[in-house]
Amino acid sequence: MILKNAFVDESVDPRGKIFQVPKGRLIRGRVTTSSSPIKPFERFRIRRLKSRDLKEPLEAVVERDGTGYIARILDLPSYGYGEDIVEAVDVLKEDIESLYEELLESDNLSQEWKRIKLFLLSIVSD
């Protein structure tokens, strides 16, 4: 499975992840090769974290950063860095889930973090 130039879109298919490559074919569970370079700015939606579903998708963006990629959420101060897009997105999802669990553990939060906690409580399915 070649994922280096893949753009991950986990939009709807419960039977497996759909990977979309520029000028490539859309195939469930695997990707075709693509020699096209990844676009510098890709937006996508996250519908599931590492072990939790989301009631509403989170808007995210992935960009080239140095020799790797950075994936960020538009509504949260979370990011993931990886050698490729898939790794960056995996790390981002783990970070969001970690953040969610840490916020649940604590009430001594600044106003900003209280707002973020309420936001995550409203969209994360336990």
Binding site: E63, D65, G66, I70, P77, S78, Y79, Y81, S106, W113
Partner: protein, 92 residues
């Protein structure tokens, strides 16, 4: 912006020593800056990078509610804990 000068372990070390941040391990390290028992800022640091890519560096600075120049100063030395607290309490 001095991202090329610093490795991720420099950021971890500085945050632990100056800001008393305790890091958890995961795919990245993450930790909270706590002031007067209140969680104010959370930073995520990638593992094992000898130099930090520019967008990641800016994102880490933003997580600590600093601009990149202030983040440079925090990592180099001029910005100490008290100065950091002054900056961050103005922004919340």
């Amino acid at each position: 912006m001095k991202n090329a000068q610093f490795a991720t372990h420099d950021v971890l070390h500085c945050c632990e020593k100056k800001l008393d941040i305790k890091f958890r391990q995961g795919k990245h390290y993450s930790g909270w800056f706590i002031h007067n028992d209140v969680k104010i800022a959370r930073i995520t640091v990638p593992k094992g990078r000898k130099s930090i890519p520019p967008k990641t560096y800016k994102t880490m600075a933003k997580q600590l509610k600093l601009n990149t120049q202030q983040f440079d100063e925090l990592l180099e030395c001029p910005l100490g804990r008290e100065e950091y607290i002054e900056i961050v309490t103005k922004s919340i």
